[in-house]
């Protein structure tokens, strides 16, 4: 599988995303001004950082970039798209995922290792680092997400770092090929940094193609 990793002005996690994707397949950078993902790119990571300075609202400007149009087209075709942190915010702003990410409940930037539970209850140890990660959506949308198994990851009980509704850390689109989450799987792919659980999340997207 060939991964494209988007780079906006202000992105800062694209290197780790490339490293993570490179462990599973081939990975290349896609510049935000590129209206096409380039030959052979099967899936995309929208990485973390502060795209376009996060001016106005996190992700609000990035969603209008030419590369995001290409990402929307890939997503519509069923291609795997993974939005991490700022990338999750971009996907929500772009309407590819429901809901929004708001300022953390206690206004503090959080950076620590947390345990996530996937829909089957398996636990993953992944770091978070964000100031605007409080997932919010109207109650009827949250109900629908839960009913259809679209809550991909929750913070383990007692570990919700930002006040997210129903402890939600990550959600998927209706067809399951677009996934966004606040925690950073790309920082958890090497025993050196304490966990390799992040690779499970990249593999989940790989399976979209299978």
């Amino acid at each position: 599988m060939i991964w494209g990793v988007l780079q906006f002005p202000g992105s800062c996690d694209e290197r780790d995303a490339l490293h993570a994707c490179g462990q599973l397949g081939e990975a290349r950078l896609v510049w935000h001004e590129d209206g096409e993902l380039g030959g052979g790119v099967d899936g995309v990571v929208v990485p973390g950082g502060f795209s376009y300075g996060d001016y106005l609202r996190a992700g609000a400007i990035a969603r209008f970039s030419p590369a995001m149009e290409a990402v929307a087209a890939l997503a519509a075709d069923g291609g795997p798209v993974l939005g991490i942190c700022n990338g999750f915010q971009v996907l929500c702003e772009a309407g590819l995922l429901p809901g929004a990410l708001l300022r953390n409940e206690d206004l503090r930037f959080v950076h620590r290792q947390v345990d996530l539970l996937d829909a089957e209850g398996a636990s993953l140890s992944i770091p978070v680092k964000h100031g605007e990660g409080r997932y919010w959506a109207p109650d009827d949308v949250l109900d629908e997400l839960e009913r259809n198994g679209r809550v991909a990851y929750r913070y383990a009980p007692g570990q919700n770092p930002n006040g997210s509704a129903r402890d939600i850390a990550g959600v998927a689109n209706e067809t399951g090929n677009v996934l966004g989450l606040m925690p950073h799987p790309e920082h958890a792919v090497d025993p050196l940094t304490g966990s390799t659980d992040g690779l499970h999340i990249f593999r989940r997207l790989e399976r979209v193609l299978a």
Binding site: E93, A100, L107
Partner: protein
Amino acid sequence: MPRARVLIRPKEGILDPQGKAVERALPALGFDGVEHVRVGRMVELEAEDPERLTELCEKLLANPLIEDFEIESL
């Protein structure tokens, strides 16, 4: 060119931690009896076609899922 001011605020019912922080700071400064503080954003602009401001707000200046906006002609 016609000038306008856009006021953007978090929707009712959505926790506004910035507003809460301001509210909690006020009594220490002797400002008692202040409640329901909400912190939003204000954008001033000049637009050739003010008719399109609503669309502009919906698409960029505000996120209609979480924010309300008001357009005021100046």
